[in-house]
């Protein structure tokens, strides 16, 4: 097969490719493919997050990479070797599971020593390695504790140490932080980042938390309906979403539906300045997307500086989020479209109340115009 041939030469020439996924389909026989034509490569030492809503196929893709399931079509290689070439216990993959899957009948240190024993590492070095990895995850001195004697965060740390102690080629994280409360989750995200940077281990993380993806990753893949929507670095992903789904999934985004008039977005006769992202035919249905931090807000009748489009609106709701306010403003000229706008100065929260008339505006670069798909955003 010509594509397989191409991959083989490709993996041979790029020695630093840790993971290559090529044209992978997964069919569970449910009528739709769980994963459709997924292809990407990941370089050694990089931290990749596969991001998507539940049912997007992200966990299936991770399980395929882990080799727990075999793809219906396509190939997955780790350091050039097909994943199915070895049985699971001979593969060099460390995994942190969703529910951690720690062994409750062992102590923290025994859990960490388990893969060393199973993989027949030199018993003389085991105590040092166990200590070193417990120190790495900041559990020094807690090795003798039983799993149920540790807090949720400490259990996470044991699971990480256990997955890394045998120095695998690849670390897989199957949403291990999903069950934690927000504070602990954010703490552990930074820990994952620190440990990954310290060891330089190639890592693939799966999550539905866009913030986590932005914080921890070198690269992000966004999935929806089994398909990869976009693969990019976090800042690139945030600033240049490839389509309306990605724009909506990452960040707080408002949408305007209309037609592309060749240069701008036409919403019911009102021309909205914007930048087309995909190739659009003039007159075709289009969807404009704008981030909550990119909409300018001003008093009625004022001229907003540097804004290419300026319209009158009415404050519909003011949401206090602590570090910021979110104004929900309806714009009558755009068919009562609702725009969400951040305001970072909660001390002045009485700036505009509900029902107040305001002026909103944006620059051409801020409003991104996508091809309109059947998908409701």
């Amino acid at each position: 097969m010509s594509t397989a041939e191409a991959v083989r030469t490709d993996t041979a020439s790029t020695a630093t490719t840790a993971v290559s996924v090529d044209g992978v389909d997964m069919d569970f026989g449910t009528g739709t493919l769980a994963v459709r034509d997924a292809s990407f490569t990941l370089e050694t030492g990089r931290f990749l997050t596969i991001l998507g809503p539940s049912g997007s196929g992200k966990t299936t893709l991770l399980r395929l990479i882990a080799g727990f399931q075999t793809p219906t079509r396509g190939e997955i290689r780790i350091h050039g070797q097909r994943i199915s070439a070895k049985p699971p216990h001979k593969r060099s993959i460390g995994m942190v599971f969703q529910r951690l899957a720690l062994f409750p009948h062992m102590t923290a240190a025994e859990n960490v020593a388990f893969p060393l024993k199973m993989r027949r590492h030199d018993p003389a070095t085991t105590p040092d390695k166990v200590d070193a990895y417990l120190r790495l995850v900041r559990l020094d001195g807690l090795g003798d504790r039983r799993i149920h004697e540790l807090s949720g965060g400490q259990q996470q740390r044991v699971a990480i140490a256990r997955a890394l102690v045998f120095e695998p080629d690849l670390l897989l994280l199957d949403e291990p932080l999903a069950a934690l409360d927000r504070k602990l989750r954010e703490e552990m995200q930074l820990e994952f980042r620190r440990i990954q940077k310290e060891l330089g281990v190639t890592t693939i993380n799966v999550t539905h938390d866009q913030r986590e993806a932005l914080v921890v990753s070198d690269e992000i893949i966004v999935m929806d309906h089994g398909e990869i929507q976009q693969a990019a670095r976090p800042s690139e992903m945030y600033r240049n979403p490839a389509n309306a789904f990605v724009a909506n999934f990452i960040g707080v985004t408002s949408f305007l539906d209309g037609r592309f008039d060749g240069g701008a977005l036409d919403v019911g006769g009102v021309s909205c300045a914007g930048t087309p992202v995909s190739k659009l035919d003039p007159g075709s249905p289009a969807r404009g997307a704008i981030r909550a931090e990119q909409v300018r807000l001003g008093a009625p009748g004022t001229t907003l500086e540097a804004c290419d489009t300026q319209l009158d609106g009415v404050v519909d709701d003011v949401i206090f989020e602590g570090e910021r306010l979110v104004y929900v403003v309806t714009v009558p000229a755009l068919g009562d479209a609702a725009l969400r706008i951040y305001h970072h100065d909660p001390a002045a929260q009485d700036l505009y109340g509900a029902g107040a008339a305001v002026r909103v505006g944006w620059t051409e670069a801020d409003l991104r115009i996508f091809k309109k798909t059947g998908e409701p955003a």
Binding site: K90, Q98, F103, H148
Partner: protein
Amino acid sequence: MPDRSFRYPLRWHVMDALERGADILWPATFSRMTGWLLAAPAILLVGLLVLGLIQIGDASMHVLDTSTFRMSEAYTLANYADAFTSAVYFKVAWRSLLAAALTTALTLAFAFPYAYAMVRTRSATVRKALLIALFLPFFIGQVVRAYGWLIILGNNGIVNDMLGVVGVEPIRLLFNFPAVIFGLVQYMLPFGVLMLAPALTAIPEETEIAAGSLGASWPRAIWHVILPMARPGLIGAGIVVFTLSLTDFAMPAILGGGSQDFIANAIYDQFFRTADQGLGSALALMLVALGSLIVGAVFTLFGAGTLALGARK
């Protein structure tokens, strides 16, 4: 009124009616006693058992007068002395204990893979087939099953017929110790599987996959992870199988053919053959004591979590 589409489900109405009835029978002022009410069946059951035990205890302290076939008036421990010093009863007790231990070990060895396959199979058909195969023997009583083995294993049974075809002389497969063990294991297997299945279900498959990803081959994952995590189930199943085997009557009687008596058979003989209620009662109480002692020792060693009671998450 406009047409209302919502109706309370019938179950809710039934519960309302039950609650109204319960209010009359057990007014709210009694609510502090509700715990005792819930315990009432248990108290009744255990209470009757204790009454029976007292009766048997009383009977065990009278000896049978062989000239009149009446129980003596005087209280004495002679029956216990007889039982303890008798070589026959020592042999019977030893045989019962050995058989119970062997049966427990063998049953668990067979029940574990059965339960594991039943819990882990991806096919609903296989799971159903295994469940049906498990419950079917329950509908066939112990005596009928033992009789079935007589037919299969007898001198003119299927097994010996088949051996005859290949030119092997008939072998005596019945009325010996292995035959009793064989019958007991076959009888106990469903109990073992039913006690083990919940324990194995409680072990997430993820844990097993994790062991694999950490480098454990499947046999090592079973040994290092699944067996230790299934320990409460194994001990619970072991206790049930051991006590049922220790006190079994039908298998030694039918498959042992009188040559392989267990304690229960000896007790039966005293009550219904020699009509020595005193000695029979003494033996019965000693069996109760023996069983309680062993179960108590297991609980002390492994804790009450063994029956999945108070087990940690």
